[in-house]
Amino acid sequence: MPEWENWFEIAKQCKYLPENDLKKLCQIVCDLLIEEANIQPVSTPVTVCGDIHGQFYDLEELFRNGGQVPDTNYVFMGDFVDRGYYSLESLTRLLTLKAKWPHRITLLRGNHESRQITQVYGFYDECMNKYGNANVWKECCKVFDLLSISALIDEEVFCVHGGLSPDISTLDQIRVIERNQEIPYKGAFCDLVWSDPEDIDKWTISPRGAGWLFGSKITEEFMEKNQLELICRAHQLVNEGYKYMFNDKLVTIWSAPNYCYRCGNVASIMEFSSVHNRKPILFNAVPDDQRVIPDKAATPYFL
């Protein structure tokens, strides 16, 4: 039995692995990811998921609603970490699934799978708190660097974390991006994980300070040129769980219920039996009484 079988069981219980085991797990996943394409081909049936943001209990609720791996195939469109309390446990859970069933689960990169962003939005602090050093965080960032940028379902549904880029008009241009690096400040790679759709025609500057706001005309042109039926993306909270735009050519999927422990929103995943036959599955945050209370940890400042 490979050692990750044991890790798989630990991760299911909302626990994190000893430092050396997690490093090994990261290495196993890195070896798998390096073989994947920038646009990873995927076939239906498959279920597409949006942001998770360290909400471990809600990730388990997602699996209860969408089906367990390997009974259901999944594409996760990034943002596994930051903001929530269980980023480490959620990421570990996804990595053990990837190690065990690499062809059943596709993990894409979100804008939060980055060194710079995780240092601001929580994952770095979480690793420091849980391990007392930054080693695990560094290893996880190596995995982030290798995550695929996008997925293409049955050659017609394009899945990406953020959206489009003014530097990208064909899918082939994505295929040649050197992705094994920290997400750059600007350019195609940056835009793909940072951009948002907006009710405009073309391009506008994004209030996020990275990526662009892209409009309906741009989307239409891109889809026609690349013979696409649908763009699936995540990256923005949708209170109703999912939202179609641009004549149903683009859908935002959001999979973190009660985002940031304050929004009270419902979450969703999108189940594709075929390109045209798809249904959203909605789910709520796991109730308080089903969450385990952790011990109070001694924070160094207060010793």
């Binding site: 360290g54 903001r83 929530g84 309390y85 269980y86 601001v120 929580g122 602090d125 209030p207 909270l237």
Partner: protein
């Protein structure tokens, strides 16, 4: 709860700085501008006079409200009353600006309208209320208070804006408008009123936490009220630290102690279990004494707020807060540019309050 790239977060404050620099160029005054341009400048900031003054102020106020709850009656000086009046006016301006009805993903855009109102009116009000020969002080103080309520582009609020308000307060001491005897009221009246206002703004315009570390932050929006609030609780007769996470205790003491007021606000705006959404505070509730909590929070504030480039990159320095290196251990309010007694305010505040003319026990 939208993610921003940190390195390009300069929009909101930049405008003011440009405006102010223009004024100064005309008058030939000392430059008022941001000085921390990259991570490596943080060290210089930590060695600056400005840093020394600011930390001196935080600890001096901390000392002044130690064991002084909010319900202790204080007689207010005319200066405190004046600035309380200004804060009350700001509160009225919020009432003037209705939130927009459309659902806004990035916070309610009406906040920008409020912000423009604030910027326009505060400038006139402070010019009339703070009578100094040197207009540069007024200009700098105005910039700090205008930036205290959030960013109009991103419609967010965080510890950087709180820092700006504290710099405003500290500035009032540095130019001798507020006096040692005002220190309790600075925290328990002015800062406490400020908190009410920013909470109202956060709720009314759905402001996002600026650069929050999520579940790993002390709080989405504030830090300083936890410091001064924990000082109020030192040697208190009401509660041990382990009780501040108890909802009933919070309801009982939220008006008496600033710290509990903060917990009450978290419990209002957060959904879900406390230990998950506010894990840092959950851990702190396990610390033995309020004294230890207070000391720890000051250490944490230095590292997690004052030591962070994404926050300090927006802070302008000039005549009140000088970026030059702090050579000798001059502390708070002994800037050479300002005529004050040679004894620093921090030193003065350290002395026991022998006079207490302004304080009546309830």
């Amino acid at each position: 709860m939208i993610t921003y790239r940190t390195s390009r977060r300069t929009k909101g404050f930049g405008n003011i700085v440009v405006l102010i620099l223009h004024v100064f160029t005309v008058k030939g005054g000392m430059e008022f501008k941001t000085r921390v341009k990259n991570e490596s400048d943080i060290e210089e900031w930590e060695k600056s006079e400005a840093y020394d003054d600011y930390i001196g102020f935080i600890t001096a106020m901390n000392k002044s409200v130690t064991a002084i709850p909010l319900n202790k009656t204080l007689i207010l000086s005319d200066e405190i009353k004046k600035f309380l009046r200004i804060l009350n006016m700001i509160d009225d301006w919020i009432t003037e600006v209705e939130p927009l009805k459309e659902s806004c993903r990035f916070g309610n855009k009406a906040f920008s309208t409020f912000y423009n109102l604030l910027k326009m009116r505060l400038s006139d009000i402070l010019s009339n209320e703070i009578l100094l020969d040197d207009q540069q002080y007024v200009t700098e103080l105005t910039a700090y208070i205008v930036d205290s309520f959030g960013n109009p582009t991103r419609i967010d609020y965080g510890t950087g804006h709180e820092l700006s308000f504290c710099m405003f307060l500290c500035g009032l001491y540095k130019i001798n408008i507020l006096k040692q005897s005002d220190s309790k009221a600075t925290v328990n009246v002015l800062f406490s009123r400020y908190l009410e206002i920013v909470r109202r703004l956060q709720l009314r315009y759905q402001m996002e936490p600026a650069g929050s570390h999520g579940a790993w932050s002390l709080d989405d929006y504030q830090f300083v009220p936890f410091i001064w609030g924990s000082a109020q609780l030192i040697e208190n007769p009401d509660l041990n630290p382990n009780l501040f996470v108890d909802e009933k205790v919070v309801q009982l003491f939220k008006s008496k102690y600033m710290f509990l007021g903060c917990i009450d606000f978290i419990m209002q705006v957060k959904k879900g279990v406390f230990h998950e959404h506010s894990n840092q505070l959950w851990n702190i509730s396990g610390v033995q004494s309020w004294n230890k909590i207070n000391e720890g929070l000051i250490k944490m504030y230095k590292k997690e707020v004052l030591g962070k480039f994404p926050i300090i990159q927006h802070v302008p320095f000039g005549k009140i807060f000088q970026f030059k290196q702090c050579d000798k251990k001059k502390t708070f309010a002994t800037s050479s540019t300002i005529k004050v007694s040679s004894q620093s305010l921090l030193e003065k505040l350290k002395k026991p309050d022998t006079l207490e003319p302004n304080i009546i026990n309830k």
